[in-house]
Symmetry: C2
Subunit: 402 residues, 2 copies
Amino acid sequence: MTNRTAQNGSQMRLLNRMMILSLVRRGPVARSELAVETGLTRAGISVIVGGLIEEGLLVETGFRGSAGGRKPVLLELRPDYGFALGLTISRAGAEVGVVNLKGELLWQTPLGALPLSRSAALLKIKQVLRRTLASRRLANHRFLGLGISTPGPVDVMAGAILNPPNFELWHGVRLCDELADVAGRSVFLANNSQALTMAEKAYGKGRDGGSFVLLVVENGIGAGIVRGEEVFSGWRGFGNEVGHTSIDYQGPECECGLRGCVELYASVPNVLRALRRSRPQIATWNDFIDSAHAGDAVCRRVLEEQARALAAALANVINMLELEAIVLTGDILYRGELLRQAIERQVNLTAMNRRLRHIPVHLSSLDKHSAVMAAAGIAIEKFFSGDTQATAGPRHGTGGPR
Amino acid sequence: MTNRTAQNGSQMRLLNRMMILSLVRRGPVARSELAVETGLTRAGISVIVGGLIEEGLLVETGFRGSAGGRKPVLLELRPDYGFALGLTISRAGAEVGVVNLKGELLWQTPLGALPLSRSAALLKIKQVLRRTLASRRLANHRFLGLGISTPGPVDVMAGAILNPPNFELWHGVRLCDELADVAGRSVFLANNSQALTMAEKAYGKGRDGGSFVLLVVENGIGAGIVRGEEVFSGWRGFGNEVGHTSIDYQGPECECGLRGCVELYASVPNVLRALRRSRPQIATWNDFIDSAHAGDAVCRRVLEEQARALAAALANVINMLELEAIVLTGDILYRGELLRQAIERQVNLTAMNRRLRHIPVHLSSLDKHSAVMAAAGIAIEKFFSGDTQATAGPRHGTGGPR
DNA sequence: AACCTTTGTCAATCAACTTAACAAACGACG
DNA sequence: CGTCGTTTGTTAAGTTGATTGACAAAGGTT
């Protein structure tokens, strides 16, 4: 039974703890507010929160103003309860970062271009991870886990990279296993889009709990879906391939095996390719957007076409799962308002949902360069969802990871 | 907090009851097996099951053979614990049916074509419902609820029919409210595809718990998605419009507002329309399939085209949510093996998932004429998911519904 | 200063599952 | 045929976690 309902008392307590933590994570809350939102009694909340404070997960940080009556005591996460590491590997290189319990980036270490042999690259990564874990600033703080993000597809369950294009060095590498000797069992792998989706849910536009689809438009098109508490990622974390949604079943064949994937019409390189003939001087996305802003008619038209293609794929997702919003991120964040508006217009013109509600399209408020933060966020997310027992372990001493 | 986790003891008990019931629903089980599958102890199971037997929901029906040791006592639902009514309204007419707790159809009453005025039609429906509820065979059995299925789109939450094409008589009717005086508060509305999906999950190919998408191909194309315990239906039950998945974003405009919906390529009338020029003598789906079986090349080609269109839409869904199977139903069940094979071939040719696993395509094992059963199934499903407290009510006496 | 309100805590109680022991039922094997 | 080992189901005591209800703390209002 894969059910996640509480069967006995202790599991109930764990779930209630989780529920409280996920509410505190959204921002400062008082016990009495938690009582209302969780459905538990004030007394019950008091006991659980007491335990969480004892453990060092929560702190009282102040009071909320009140109009008559005792002031509510605000609770927040205690950021230095522990830290998580993030590792992001891209085609260009890699980067390691450290975040605290709140997901705030403490610092990052760019690794630059990696060695061209697999073992040397792994060795270098391990070196940096070891050095980071041994860092004095992290002494006496709990190590909560290591999150890794790479281009997809990946096999989340196995912790292995499958076969991302232009990423042959890493094909088939069981990354979580490889790094277990450095970071123990709390190593989690996800593809870039999934990592960004979790980050967006925890720290971005999805913070207050609605459903949305995150669209990452760069060299490829990735996406993630958040609905309720769930981040969809399929049985092996291989799903969510919104970029390979077919929007023209008779269209050209994509390398993924389908025909007419959105990616062929709307990814950055494909858009630039469409411009090559009439606007050969445009070489980058930013050039393209600048020209569109400047009023170049061809660029405007191409942008509109891109928006139509993206909107078609998005409308399919939105209609099928009845999502409430769309969030955009990736390279297209550069002066992204233009594309955002175009997509919003197209989606709300064509989506069936238009009869029922307006679908807002947002630009991500998270920094595009927050890939490391998002990677570490995977581990933070796992920590809070209770998928790991990293919390139960002993403190991480100065002697390096065990 | 919309969370469904148990917060306190009594909710925990309810959820454990539900968990046990949903396992028993799949087929005869022994207490000890329930203990393993639920994670509870034998003792805990014994107590809960004892209560369920006391209430009349379960009965012991026999023993399972064993190799040494006491024989396990098999538990099953007690079918005559209560009954649910099903009402299905189509463009052609309506029908009322009665099912027992196990979902078995006891009998059905065709209403034939309905009066052309809304109030007269409602009146007739109410009459038949009242007569059914007062029926002697149902005396001293609990009334569990009334499930209604109609063409979509409907607003599940509001219990209202929205604006299905060719269904103007019913546009905007708040059916659940209208029938409340006959059937109380346990009235549930869903569109045909949703009802069939629930039935397929409970009694058909989805019985043993995997995820799947059900595709209903008739005059329109409907669908339902089952993943885990959940039947997707969106925030207002308006979703799951797989039939209006766009598979050609530049294609002809559909009345739904999108372009190139699958429905335009693969619904029964649209397929027949495509044949009209070269095969004018083919007037019905069955004719078409018979010709294809007989080897008619044009029909074969058209069938293959239809399969390609359906496969494109299905591949999008499957890839996005990583579903495990496809189930087909509707008019296409007639000698459906031909189309089934074609779809299975296309899906597994093009779906990205082909690298990971084969996606089986099944024909529904439920009778196409089981619409009433499926409608009543909505109420049964609600009963078991605890969305209704109909069970707490007093027995339904001979004096008619209160 | 008296009064009302709200927040947070504490002790007693209650509800639900677990633990542990045992009875029931059955096959196997001398 | 009776004993042994095994598995199933039940029962009573024990544990755990939330609720109940009373109360202290803290703050505004008049």
